[in-house]
Symmetry: C2
Subunit: 425 residues, 2 copies
């Protein structure tokens, strides 16, 4: 099998390295020799993490997707403009395509998959979600007997690193973000990671595979972690929860919920223990029940592990012709953000005046919302006190109305923090 | 696709139920209608957990494996005598076989797989290890780019239930075993579960798939949990460990270690948090690093999930012809138990006489073994004191020699408990 690679950076270099060092065992598994013949790069003279002595380098990416010797194109350059054109050209030339590009699949996957099915080639993207964890293959194959009810994943390592460090060391968001940037875990512009867009890309892919629907990235409710404070983390911890940034996809009524947001998770749940840059996806399905898949969500060789698994998948199963793992899709509308039901955590800062707790709980009562737990702390030097409240299940619309009522009250001293709770049981 | 089932008990009934309730989504995934046409049972009139109105029942199991309409036989009766003959007959008749029978695969898998390859049919057994967790598919497919370095699994739910309950409630082994039997988690004769034989069956299958070797069940060093005491659990906990019954397969030198035994695992490891009847397998591999797969290790529908995943695998990939997921096998000798290197936990009961600690530590010193941590408790009413010691890495042979020296000493008051430690990092 002859492979052409677009991009020889971290992931591309990792793929070449793993293919070289594990060539003997990979060939023993598949019976096929995988050969990287051609790579499209920006600068042929740049120093790389891999040995390129047997690979022809070209600065023309179209040479790779048009080359008659190439059976499979690995798209490892990222971006969704020129990259889309390159992938389309490769598919139109009858080549299989493997990509680690979640933005490309989330934004253009529907049309690209249609094109691949028409051309009878495969478009695979295990590496686009949760790095090396074989979560797409597990959903498509290992769980194929199941109706998936929900999945909840830590699918952005940068965000999880930041939240873990904030909790373990009591440090501020900005402080930890700077460290993550210095360590290379976060980009100079961290928006995609910390505002949840990267996680929303990945969630839309997971949901489409889990439920057999079209990709619906534009319908994901997305909230990042940049307004999470150490106060939130401490209060959550006192109530028995850890704050994780989760991507959640869930069957609800005739539709699905698609949401990415900070989430209080009970400490006893395994996913609450997933720390640092590690990723994990928890799946609830009707036959198996709860299962969880844990591993490295990024890194050159971890991502290469998923890219090469897709190569082996093509070797074993050349003829398969699926839409996101399904022979036919269903339409499932995405529930509007306002109508999503969940437990909530609210954190308030109030003047510690007589009867303030009665006023606060009265607002919940007026909205017909039950309080599950409440902590009130001693007032600070300004006579302001933190209150943390967890609710029973309630709609986002209702909890936003409670927030509004509290913020309109004279006793209120700061914006009310609202964070979803997921019990995951 | 027409399916014949041998056995309509818990697992067989679960398969029929899941195929019925999820028929729409399974067909939408695969494009193929799966039909159970025939089932071999002991008593056609017995009440069952599934609807059998569309299934022909027969008391002759050979009718199932010989029936011309049957494409795939699901072997769900267990046992390794008649069952082996039935599976061989099915394969010789050109039928694919799926089994949940770990004893059959562990004991006769090598010859059965050879026969299946010769007859160009598939013999699949995802359900034989860790119930519904897709661990075999993950090793064969998701991790196919990797050289596996080691795996460590909680692969017997009964044992994990007992150890979890002993820890959480401070109860004795015998006490919890009786409860497990009452709850149906343990058999009337619990030997297979509590003495580690069931785990050894599963470990031998995992190792063969992970390393691409023959099945070597007869070479697994196996120790059960029946001599674990609450004293062990308490001392381990004080040292920062949880005791789990693990199956461990590990590359070591030119060979592999295959062992099943109680193990101290650092509390911070995710697998230490896997409680009750749940299973989990942690894998270390060269490209991906550490990954973990968690879920239900038993139960009618959880096991059915794995059996039907294998059915879908056959639908997607009829032509594949592999030996345990590999096109060719390697020979890897199993390291002898005496030569296995590991950290160890030792628990002693000694007379609290002057200088006893110097004598104990002197024995370690004489054997050139470093002590990593030591706890000595206050003496009891008989003037006997518990000492718990953890060592650096040392061979089993050496630690057994230390045990012998201690037990030959005048200060010693009980058999020395020895338990492996695995840091898993």
């Amino acid at each position: 099998m002859k492979v052409g690679i677009l991009g020889l950076g971290t992931v591309g270099g990792g793929v070449v390295n793993v293919l070289q060092k594990n060539s003997e065992s990979i060939e023993r598994r598949t019976g096929v020799k995988i050969e990287v013949v051609l790579a499209g790069v920006r600068d042929v003279k740049q120093k790389r993490i891999c040995d390129t002595s047997n690979i022809k380098l070209t600065i023309d990416p179209f040479e790779v997707v048009n080359h008659p010797d190439v059976d499979v194109v690995l798209e490892l350059i990222g971006g969704i403009g020129l990259t889309k054109e390159l992938v389309e050209t490769a598919i139109n030339n009858g080549k299989h395509v493997i990509t680690a590009n979640k933005a490309l699949i989330a934004n253009h996957g529907n049309e690209l998959i249609k094109l691949a099915n028409k051309k009878q080639v495969r478009l695979l993207f295990e590496a686009s979600v949760a790095g090396g964890i074989p979560i797409i293959k597990s959903l498509e194959q290992g769980l194929s007997a199941n109706n998936i009810e929900s999945l909840a994943g830590i699918i952005n390592g940068t965000g999880n690193f930041i939240l873990t460090d904030m909790k373990e060391k009591g440090r501020d968001f900005d402080d930890v973000l700077k460290e993550a940037q210095a360590l290379g875990y976060a980009e100079e512009d961290p928006t995609f990671d910390v505002e949840g867009i990267d996680a929303a890309h990945k969630l839309s892919i997971l949901a489409a595979i889990a439920f057999g629907t079209e990709l619906q990235f534009d319908k994901v409710s997305t909230k990042g972690i940049s307004d999470i404070t150490t106060e939130d983390i401490i209060h959550a911890s006192e109530l028995g929860y850890t704050i994780k940034h989760l991507g959640i996809a869930k069957r609800a009524g005739e539709g699905i919920e698609l949401r990415v947001h900070p989430t209080l998770v009970p400490n006893k749940q395994l996913i609450a223990q997933v720390d640092g840059v590690m990723n994990a996806v928890m799946v609830k399905s009707d036959a198996l029940g709860t299962s969880l898949y844990y591993g490295a969500g990024a890194g050159d060789e971890a991502t290469a592990s998923a890219v090469i698994a897709d190569l082996n998948d093509i070797i074993n199963n050349q003829t398969s012709n699926h839409i996101l793992g399904w022979k036919s899709q269903q339409k499932l509308p995405v529930i509007k953000s306002d109508d999503i039901q969940s437990e909530f955590f609210l954190r308030l800062l109030v003047s510690d005046i007589k009867g303030v707790l009665a006023k606060v709980t009265g607002i919940f009562n007026d909205h017909n919302v039950s309080i599950d737990a409440l902590i009130q702390k001693q007032a600070d030097e300004n006579n302001n006190a933190h209150i943390a409240i967890t609710t029973d299940k309630v709609s986002t619309k209702t909890v936003m109305s409670i927030k509004k009522s509290i913020e309109a009250s004279a006793f209120n001293q700061a914006e009310v923090q609202i964070i979803h709770i997921e019990l995951l049981d």
